[in-house]
């Protein structure tokens, strides 16, 4: 097992290297250069000033030289300095934004499992009933509609529509949920409990809506995998020796059916990181996804590369953990 893990870890190195090479090439293929996008077509910006800024960022050097410089730094875990005009170390920029992104992703992952698995189990147990069809339609609808659209509808409903209704019929302002951001304007005045409440209050919509979109995947996996197990002969045996239905499901079927779901955990990391870009922009959450969006718009190469490297690393680690835990959980699989 240990040898297997080491081997996998070792092979991650060329993989990360390949990912960075491709990402580096792709982002440099996109036209436009850092610090210049907003200065394009500005009469006050002279050509000579442009050249000066290009040289300042090292953009006047050939691409392979730029990549080599970057690579030499990254192997020492130095992510470099941002090309945005704030000139801050990339690691600081990512560091201050990573926690909120991880919290939101963990929370929504939690929600997905808390709701997705029971829905899957229920649907498998009550296959082809009306409730099964309703639930299936619901999760698929959540999967099919674009999440940014659902997010906007929810923001309109909780932020504006309810308020207008309350105003019209009861004569007072009702702000059930905030529209965006993660802190109120008077956050600094609050005590610890109020702060926790304030942040949780702001996180309800983003976390809830990001979970709705992913329910379909998990619940379908759960349902199919459970149905598969329920067809096995040992389940029939369990029923035959007179065990109650709930006991059969819990003790015999579920344990085996949960195995494939573990894999999903590892595989869902890239999707979550990608989703954060959209979510954090819509809900104005100062996380890593929003930083990625801003960096791409500004062609801030070191920051983009930094986020990509961290994303790639997290994905590979996620896959590794999924594979390893699969081996631990399933005695039929032996990796040597």
């Amino acid at each position: 097992m240990l040898r297997y893990l080491l081997k996998r870890l070792f092979f991650m190195i060329p993989m990360v290297f390949g990912i960075t090479l491709i990402s580096f090439a792709v982002i440099h293929l996109v036209p436009g250069e850092p610090g210049m996008l907003e200065a394009e077509m500005n009469p006050k910006v002279t050509r000579e000033a442009r050249e000066r800024i290009r040289a300042f960022y090292g953009l006047d050097k050939p691409l392979h030289v730029q990549y080599w410089t970057w690579l030499k730094r990254i192997v020492r875990l130095d992510f470099g300095t941002s090309f945005a005009t704030d000139r801050r170390p990339v690691i600081d920029k990512i560091g201050e934004r990573l926690p909120i992104t991880i919290v939101i992703n963990l929370l929504s992952m939690g929600l997905i499992f808390i709701f997705g698995i029971p829905i899957g189990i229920y649907c498998a147990n009550h296959k082809d009933t009306i409730m099964d069809k309703l639930l299936t339609s619901f999760v698929f609808a959540g999967y099919a509609v674009p999440t940014f659209w659902v997010a906007l509808l929810a923001m309109i409903f909780f932020g504006v529509y309810l308020d207008d209704l309350a105003m019209k019929y009861f004569g007072f302002s009702l702000k059930l949920l905030p529209i965006s951001g993660i802190k109120s304007y008077d956050y600094g005045d609050m005590n610890v409990f109020e702060k926790i409440f304030d942040i949780s209050w702001h996180l309800i919509l983003p976390v809830g809506i990001s979970a709705v979109g992913s329910l379909a995947g998990i619940s379908r996996y759960m349902k199919n995998s459970l149905l598969e197990v329920l067809r096995q002969e040992y389940i029939t045996t369990a029923y035959a020796k007179g065990l109650p239905g709930s006991m059969v499901i819990r003790k015999h079927a579920l344990r085996n059916a949960l195995l494939p779901v573990i894999t999903i955990l590892g595989l869902s990391i890239p999707g979550l990181i990608g989703g954060s870009v959209i979510f954090e922009s819509i809900f104005s959450i100062p996380g890593m996804g929003q930083l990625f969006y801003f960096s791409v718009m500004a062609r801030d190469y070191p920051t983009i590369m930094g986020i990509l490297v961290i994303g790639a690393f997290l994905t590979l680690v996620g896959n590794l953990i999924a594979d390893a835990s699969y081996a631990v959980a399933d005695p039929r699989i032996r990796i040597g």
């Binding site: 996008l37 910006v45 005009t85 704030d86 309109i156 004569g171 965006s180 809900f283």
Partner: protein, 548 residues
């Protein structure tokens, strides 16, 4: 019995939650009608799509950085509400008889926000660091023309130029930086880029990355303490979200699109909370032609196109009336504007007549041809700018009516600039220019400005225009300069290197508790420090920081 209790409990909880969240505030519909008396306090919250990048304004090129910096820093001079140049940190100035040097008399007693006095040495430092080749600033152009700069004493600063330069005076509106905090350090990595110290009406207080920037009123500001106590810029990258935050009263100030201005904010609940203002924006939209193109080379063709495009239709249909026809590169409320230039009214007949003169013939299939080549071209538009894309569609229809095929190609901004405009690889573009406060058009229309990355990308060449551009920028006397500019506008109108389409209105919504807002040619922000909220209408009383 137990179930009843449970139900009651849940119900009670819900009611409590309801009351707790709603704060039970009753709104008085007429509350904001009362103009009240100026009072200190309250906070204004604005939304910004982008996060500021660097609060030393000469190092950044994005609008949100410049907005924050404009509240924290001052220049030597500034524009008043009617776009006249008035003193800011300079009390007065003298221009020498030969028009070559300007001597600024600086205000005495002005203090940096850290308490140190402001002197001419700060101005000197700002000049030096701007022209220093090691400083990564895009804005060194105007200061590079200075031959000599000297701080004569603590409160006198003189600059001398090689030849008279009309935009010289206003180039000193650039933010003056504190020498005592910057000299001897590397400005590109100075802590001031995230924590500015200026002389301006607001003091930087906090920047929560990705979330908000907060400023507080400077009680010692030399023009008097601003009434509004705090300014908060919330970073909301999505425009739809920002509009919802406005409707939800969570932000106080936002620029509106024509659609939002005309249709989506015109209902009682919104009008009860917000005032809407409009003023002419400092920009115009145009169709620029590649003048090396075999058809567009001919002035008659360009004049014909100006007749063939229905500008009013674009303003009514796409801007929903929120704009006026552009006749040239200036807007009517500027002193440089010449209202008497030739206008090209919408007239397909005149357009066809001009095209016939230019050698085009309309075939039986309705297509215009010159020597057998059909009149076809592609116009490039940048992605994301709905107004421009829709304008192109209306133009396309009008041109097809007289037998011209215009294709529209929508491109991402950086691609459009780098791969098409910089390489002169286009037939026509539909773009906009910012109208500079100082009417210097040298960079855009002078024939020498056709190099790579330079702005006369259409390749406009007219020797009389060249001469006028040079004369206008080297004449400081306004009536004389105006004569050159008027002639310049006549020539541009005659030559039509661009079809000037429209000047849009800037439309904004501001919460009604803010008083003393008066739109003027300079916009609305010129008297920001005089805006106030009457005591009975104050909404935010907290002065706490956001970070723990």
């Amino acid at each position: 019995m137990a179930t009843v209790n449970k139900k009651t409990l849940i119900l009670t909880c819900l009611v409590c939650l309801f009351v707790f969240l709603s704060c039970g505030k009753k709104r008085d519909a007429a509350l904001y009608d009362d103009p009240g008396k100026p009072a200190f306090g309250d906070m204004i919250i604005t939304g910004s799509i982008g996060e500021p990048s660097n609060l030393i304004p000469m190092l950044s090129s994005d609008s949100s950085s410049h907005e924050i910096a404009s509240y924290v820093y001052n220049g030597l001079v500034k524009y008043d509400k009617d776009l006249n140049i008035v003193g800011d940190l300079a009390e007065s100035w003298d221009i020498s008889k030969d028009n070559l040097s300007i001597t600024f008399k600086l205000r005495k007693g002005v203090k940096w926000q850290d308490g140190k006095p402001f002197t001419a040495h700060d101005v000197m430092y700002t000049y030096k660091v701007t022209v220093d080749p090691k400083t990564p600033t895009p804005y060194s152009g105007d200061f590079k023309l200075v031959k000599k700069a000297e701080a004569i004493d603590d409160y006198t600063f003189r600059v001398t130029y090689d030849q008279p330069f009309a935009p010289a005076l206003i180039s000193w509106a650039a933010a003056v930086l504190p020498r005592h905090l910057l000299e001897g350090t590397d400005i590109a990595t100075s802590p001031l880029r995230r924590k500015p110290v200026g002389t301006g009406p607001f003091v930087f207080s906090e920047w929560v990355p990705g979330d908000r920037v907060i400023l507080t009123a400077n009680p010692d500001y030399f023009e008097g303490r601003p009434y509004i106590g705090r300014y908060m810029m919330k970073i909301i990258p999505d425009t739809a979200t920002m509009f919802l935050e406005l409707k939800n009263n969570s932000i106080d100030f936002m620029g509106l699109t024509p659609l939002q201005y005309v249709k989506q904010t015109d209902y009682p609940a919104f009008r009860r909370e917000f005032n809407r203002y409009k003023y002419l924006a400092f920009m115009y939209t145009y169709v620029g032609y590649n003048l090396r193109h075999r058809f567009f080379k001919d002035k008659k063709v360009r004049q014909a196109l100006a007749h063939a495009i229905n500008k009013q239709e674009i303003i009514d249909g796409i801007l929903l009336g929120q704009g006026i026809e552009a006749t040239g590169p200036f807007k009517p409320d500027m002193w440089a504007y010449d209202g008497k230039v030739k206008r090209f009214e919408y007239s397909p007949e005149k357009a066809l007549a001009l095209l016939t003169e230019a050698g085009f013939e309309r075939g039986s299939d309705g297509v215009l041809r010159k020597n057998g080549t059909p009149f076809e071209f592609t116009v490039l538009v940048n992605q994301g700018n709905v107004v421009r894309i829709q304008s192109a569609e209306l133009i396309q229809r009008r041109l097809s009516m007289i037998g011209i095929t215009m294709k529209i190609r929508v491109l991402e901004w950086a691609t459009l600039i780098n791969d098409f405009i910089d390489k002169r690889n286009f037939e026509a573009v539909l773009l906009g220019w910012t109208i500079p406060n100082d009417p210097d058009l040298f960079d855009i229309f002078h024939s020498s400005k056709q190099g790579p990355k330079e702005l006369n990308f259409t390749g406009y060449e007219n020797s009389e225009v060249d001469g006028l551009l040079v004369k206008a920028r080297h004449t400081l006397d306004r009536p004389e300069r105006k004569k050159y500019l008027d002639r310049l506008q006549e020539l541009l109108s005659e030559d039509q290197p661009y079809t000037f389409l429209f000047v849009p209105y800037s439309t904004v919504a501001i919460h009604r508790r803010f008083k003393a807002i008066e739109p003027a040619p300079a916009g609305i922000m010129y008297n920001f420090i005089k805006w106030y909220v009457p005591e009975n209408q104050v909404r935010y009383r907290s002065n706490a920081a956001v970070s723990p």
